[in-house]
Symmetry: D2
Subunit: 262 residues, 4 copies
């Protein structure tokens, strides 16, 4: 079996502006995440960033990406709508997508969810403890029933997402909040996972449990089926080719062979 091809998309803004972030992630958070995936086995991860042409995601790149990982925070608004459309089309065609931490407010995640994706937050370096709700879920493979991150940003409920297909993790925060921190969705032919941890001023993506969740999620999100050629296609089925014999009846709007309205 060939490797799962992952593209880790990083905004790469705070790594340039903040000495703290650069100190934790000298090659960028995206590169740290990609390095951990490449060490996990069976995964071939590369990176793309906002400042590259097409934000590093020209059409061909997504065609060759089995699973896209997205981390953004300070510059959601700078992501072009063309790239957002391209990412959504790729997901609907079968590409997996994993959104990390502050990507809850990224354009592609909000577009795929259809909801505000809002939450409460506090940057206090408090303790977060993630609890598994769904035992033996593939995204939790090899993990204990709970694990801790000693310093994290707090995200609190209500989290403005649609009811998930599955709630895999729920976080406890030292300051008194809870959060659905690992949730799955299917959008078109693509699997989508949101995973909460990963504030840029803490070493979260160096944590072994976090790395394991992301690698597990890549394997879960990967769909080996051939990508759909056009996920938006809405074909007419002519009367003559109906699976059961029928005859045209009543009035029509569409001339024969005409395309539908969109």
């Amino acid at each position: 079996m060939s490797s799962i091809r992952v593209t880790v998309w990083g905004e790469n803004v705070h790594e340039q502006k903040s000495a703290v972030v650069r100190g934790l992630y000298p090659q960028g958070m995206h590169q740290s995440i990609a390095d951990a995936l490449n060490a996990a086995g069976g995964i071939a991860a590369t990176t793309a960033t906002l400042d590259q042409p097409d934000h590093g995601l020209p059409p061909g790149r997504l065609q060759e990406t089995d699973v896209l990982i997205w981390w953004g925070h300070a510059a959601h608004g700078e992501v072009s709508d063309a790239v957002v459309d391209r990412v959504c089309d790729a997901v609907w065609s079968g590409m997996g997508a994993i959104f990390l931490h502050s990507a809850h407010f990224s354009k592609p995640f909000k577009r795929l969810m259809g909801t505000p994706c809002n939450l409460t937050w506090r940057e206090a370096g408090e303790r977060e403890r993630l609890w598994l709700t769904s035992r033996n879920h593939p995204i939790a493979a090899g993990l204990p029933d709970h694990f801790e991150l000693e310093n994290e940003e707090m995200y609190g409920e209500p989290f403005g997402i649609p009811e998930p297909l599955e709630t895999v993790f729920i976080s406890w925060f030292q300051g008194g909040e809870v959060f659905r921190s690992g949730v799955t969705y299917k959008r078109g032919a693509g699997n989508v996972f949101y995973f909460r941890p990963g504030h840029e001023t803490y070493p979260t993506y160096h944590d072994g449990n976090v790395q394991r969740v992301i690698a597990n999620a890549v394997r879960w999100a990967h769909n080996p089926a051939a990508r759909l050629a056009d996920p938006n296609r809405a074909p007419n089925v002519p009367v003559e080719t109906a699976l059961e014999p029928i005859e045209q009846r009543g009035e029509t709007l569409h001339a024969k062979g005409e395309a539908g309205f969109r």
Copy 2:
């Protein structure tokens, strides 16, 4: 209990261009739907159309709408993005929304679903039979286990929607297809229902069972709670006001009191 305030939004294009449609719905499909709702009891329905300023949906109108019904087909692309944003914000704040038939491809429905919302179709006036899957569901109140529409457009699976909260109706078509024709969602604080029947060249909205489903759906979608003031709000919770006593630790990105990135 005061009446549920419904706005029936109609594209009102084919009613102007097609003698067939005008013959079936002399005052427009939107008016026929509103008339049936006003006769159902406990509902006060008015209409709005594409050709009006703001498509008939200025901000104040949605504030006073408990449930919005949407029918569009030929002119989805002419609906302004500002109105789409306004509709989505209203749904997320608690307004109910019902999308009918070809509104599967309307901008607000696609935005709320986060998926292509595509399907197969055939305009042959064939028989459709809707089956109830969820007995005693409030949207099916007073309906038999199945009912028929002798002439309808066919919509076929795969239907490009997210897995519904509940699948209430599934349609059988004479030509051999099936379709999830009544599905529920929650988006933010708003209840959303999609209902399949209603091609404009057939008298579907004069059918008693169809009228009953729509009236039931209005009652189901109506949320009597006060509308959320800002459904996109993502408030910071300062360390000093944390529910459990914590102290600031570690590095920070945000200066005290600063708003979050979006």
Copy 3:
């Protein structure tokens, strides 16, 4: 509109054995819950207990019960299977059911869930804070985004339930755990809600927020439709009465008019 008829079923064991419990609930927990419901408006609540004939739930009683509330802890095993069958049949026919706290391990809840319904627990009188995840959900009507119970038993994830239809509340515990403390299901034609708080050695059912959740849940679970006559019916549809004309083909097992196997 007539009142919603509620039966509050209480095990009534610890009220007899424990002076602590009797001190908090002199007439029994079931009576305290019923009293609060009767004061809420639009609800007519009575009680039934384990020690009564048929555990207070003869067939006629469930026929006249719109919503059943169940609290049990020490004597789950003493509930007769006949009564469990009767309760499940009533739920499947359209009766609402609300299971409180330690009723997670009651026979009817386990039967309706199809899962172990297990959890971790600690009786330490610690602080519980319930967070709302689904804004404007009818079960949360009139409640703030969070509320606290200063002394409660801890229940922790993983909670062995099926993925809920909706997760309405999630609890934070002082000792470090989280729990899905308000979850909805539909079973047959009946609405089911599980609500976590209510350990018998604390005054939980005297708390205004808890009382409000239970009253809201009664209104949410109540299905005004007529109860199904037989929720287990699996009728044969003879070829002669098929909705579309078909002819008998191939081999058969069943003689004409014969009942199906069960």
Copy 4:
């Protein structure tokens, strides 16, 4: 990667009594299903039948079964409750389970669903067409958007199951009904799939598409994680070992170290 170990459980009653069934499946339906799985690659399938001691499912057998397939029809009532308990415990521990056709009324399926699992039916050898609703779902790998079975028993909605995690297939029937014919669930740590086709008087299990669905479902249901030792365990977490430091407060029912009630 070692093979997935499948046990195909067959009732093996009609194969003995009916010449028609024996003619179609000389070694029994269970053996035909196992043969097809063994030819599919990566699967090692064996069989078990009702007439064997412990119905062929002693405890050790389920320990060594990754995925159990169940077909029953005429003798659901003869399956011992001890074996039903054992099957449910195995599913909750992580064993996959696939229920075929008339197994909708089998004891373990009803127990795992928590609902009546009833439907309407007609044995007329009519045409069934299965439509895929969820493109690129692993259970539909390699299948077209629809496929037909020329002669099948009809099962019609309303189907008395809980809202599925995913609805993968919906069937169209010649006589006018529809049915959710492929639905997924998770119960405890185990994946569950129900697949409708397979009436014993037709050659359904010799059909290539049907065989492919079952093999796909085996791969989907297989959970490579170690089986849970006790899926019903509800451990106490002593105050002294709480993850966050807390002190015992308030009144207690349980003496220190005492097991919980069940």
